[in-house]
């Protein structure tokens, strides 16, 4: 009888300890994910009159000319929204990332589409080693020709993508801000792929962006715009609520 009690006590103790251990460990992981929900939001504006965006003549590709007949497409080097927000600006963390956050590759697989003889999106931000898909929604061929800087981790390639062919998978091996992409068949097609470690964002038509999944800490936030280049500022991110970092570019 005594030994039975002893056995019971030992088992109960182990169970209790296991239970507490489990509770503690889940609480710990919960804490970590709660801490990681910090982030940075902001708006990027253009101060002054934006440079004139030239209309693109697509008459050499009748399909595309027809598609844009009602609203002609312009160049996209500086796109400003109704409230002065600057579109297509890449925002990333240039300093302060811990190794774990920097090496985390987002599980999403964005698409780089060719539609109406334009790149959709015009600017894309990717993580190093993050896969993306190149697709062609047009009823004619494109060639996708990214031109990374020579002798870096990324290399120039050039692939044909006729209509109706399935999307193909691509990945970039190293950081580069930003890789120009062109189509030789349609020389007006230009786009950029920014490849950065850690969380990134690209501004929308209001110039707004949100970088999430940042653990609390001190960071340098850097922006990149294809015509105006880069700006940086220091930001402190606290747990729970997102920090703010606004930027203003001067129109030239």
């Amino acid at each position: 009888m005594k030994t039975h009690y002893k056995k019971f006590a030992v088992m109960a103790c182990t169970l209790l300890m296991l239970g507490f251990g489990l509770l503690y460990s889940t609480r710990k992981t919960l804490n970590v994910s709660a801490a990681a929900t910090g982030g940075i939001t902001g708006t990027i504006k253009l101060d002054g009159t934006p440079p004139h965006q030239k209309p693109i003549d697509m008459s050499k590709e009748p399909n595309c000319a027809k598609e844009h007949a009602s609203s002609p497409v312009t160049t996209e080097t500086v796109i400003v929204g109704p409230k002065g927000g600057l579109k297509w600006v890449v925002v990333y963390i240039s300093e302060g990332l811990d190794a774990a956050t920097a090496s985390q590759v987002p599980p999403v697989k964005p698409t780089w589409d060719q539609k109406g003889c334009q790149y959709i999106p015009h600017v894309m931000a990717l993580d190093v080693n993050q896969h993306f898909e190149v697709s062609n929604s047009d009823p004619h061929s494109h060639n996708i020709h990214p031109l990374p800087k020579p002798n870096g981790a990324n290399h120039e390639w050039n692939r044909s993508q006729p209509p109706g062919t399935p999307p193909f998978d691509q990945v970039w091996a190293g950081e580069e801000i930003a890789i120009p992409v062109k189509c030789n068949i349609h020389p007006w097609m230009h786009g950029y792929i920014a490849v950065v470690k850690g969380p990134t964002a690209v501004t929308d038509e209001n110039g707004s962006y949100t970088i999430s999944n940042l653990p609390p800490g001190n960071y340098t936030v850097t922006t990149w715009q294809e015509q105006y280049g880069s700006q940086s500022q220091k930001v402190t991110v606290a747990a729970g609520k997102p920090a703010t970092a606004d930027f203003t570019y001067k129109a030239k």
């Binding site: 050499k60 004619h140 061929s141 060639n143 996708i144 020709h145 031109l147 020579p150 002798n151 290399h155 120039e156 390639w157 050039n158 692939r159 044909s160 993508q161 006729p162 062919t165 193909f168 030789n184 068949i185 349609h186 020389p187």
Partner: protein, 314 residues
């Protein structure tokens, strides 16, 4: 009064001398601009392997300086003294991007690819045929080219693409090739008759933004050569690997290996003045390429005769 004269005179001389020194110093400072330290070329111990021949960079130093540097530059950066006069520009070895490869787009070529390019020269450019070099000399030059870009130390060459055996040239394969030429829009640059006059031809630029022309298949009379070799296999490689650094993309993702041979057969017929099996087959059909009928989807409509396997078992 008189006694002051020599002092004045001496003062004037002194002033002139000081001015002279200052002026001379200034002038000499202008004459010799500061160029910084003289750039030095480090000949890294690169190697090449072609069959049983091993090339060594150090052995090619004098050959490179004598035969290559005039265009490609002492530092391999395509800034040789002749380069300004050339179109297309000489290859820039510092970026290690090569047109003629047997490897997929975006990868380094294998040593044989560069070895063959040196021997063959590049048609429609100023790169001459260097067949006078011995194999060893060429192998050494292949190794020497590798000293200019760090890519050769960091990366391996790409895996050469697999080329299936060439099927026989038939009117049907030419006809299918023509259908592919239309469908894949080769004509956008190369023109409807392959004469290099497609709607996008005028705006083409290479990766350094220099204007570049698409290949004119019809030019060159009986000996018209392709940029990366003259066999049907070479033509196959050109569009299945792409010519990196130029607008010519790789079609490896979109053409099946056997379809690629059909395209090769059609491309040969665009070289109208060239003697080829393809042109013989075409002239036997009075120069008319019949419209292509898809052989796979409608089995019922297919002609009943041909039951032989394509390999032709004897």
């Amino acid at each position: 009064m008189n006694c002051l004269k020599p002092i004045r005179f001496a003062g004037a001389i002194l002033f002139a001398a000081i001015m002279g020194v200052v002026f001379a110093a200034k002038a000499s400072a202008q004459d010799v601009p500061d160029l910084g330290p003289k750039p030095r070329l480090v000949i890294k111990p690169m190697e090449s392997h072609i069959g049983n021949v091993t090339g060594h960079a150090a052995a090619a130093k004098s050959d490179y300086r004598r035969y290559c540097a005039g265009c490609h530059g002492d530092f391999g950066d395509s800034n040789g003294e002749n380069a300004v006069w050339l179109d297309p520009k000489p290859r820039d070895f510092t970026i290690a991007t090569f047109k003629c490869r047997s490897t997929p787009t975006g990868t380094l070529p294998v040593d044989e690819d560069i070895f063959n390019t040196i021997a063959r020269g590049l048609t429609n450019s100023n790169m001459p045929v260097w067949s006078s070099f011995t194999k060893q000399q060429r192998a050494d030059l292949v190794a020497y080219i590798k000293i200019f870009s760090p890519r050769w130390e960091k990366e391996k060459a790409g895996e050469p693409i697999k080329i299936p055996d060439e099927p026989p040239v038939t009117l049907e394969s030419i006809s299918h090739g023509k259908a592919l030429f239309t469908k894949l829009e080769c004509w956008k640059c190369h023109g409807p008759h392959g004469e290099g006059d497609g709607p996008s031809a005028a705006t083409l630029t290479d990766s350094k933004d220099n204007p570049i022309r698409p290949y004119n298949f019809a030019a060159g009379k009986g000996d018209s050569r392709f940029k990366c070799g003259n066999t049907n296999q070479d033509v196959y490689k050109i569009f299945m690997t792409g010519l990196d650094g130029t607008p010519m993309p790789s079609f490896a993702d979109v053409i099946q290996p056997n379809d690629a041979w059909d395209l090769v057969h059609f491309l040969r017929t665009l070289q109208v003045d060239r003697h080829s099996k393809e042109n013989e087959v075409l002239s036997a059909a009075h120069g008319v390429i019949p419209p292509y009928v898809d052989r796979n989807p409608p089995p019922a409509a297919a002609p009943p005769a041909d039951n032989k396997p394509p390999g032709g078992a004897n």
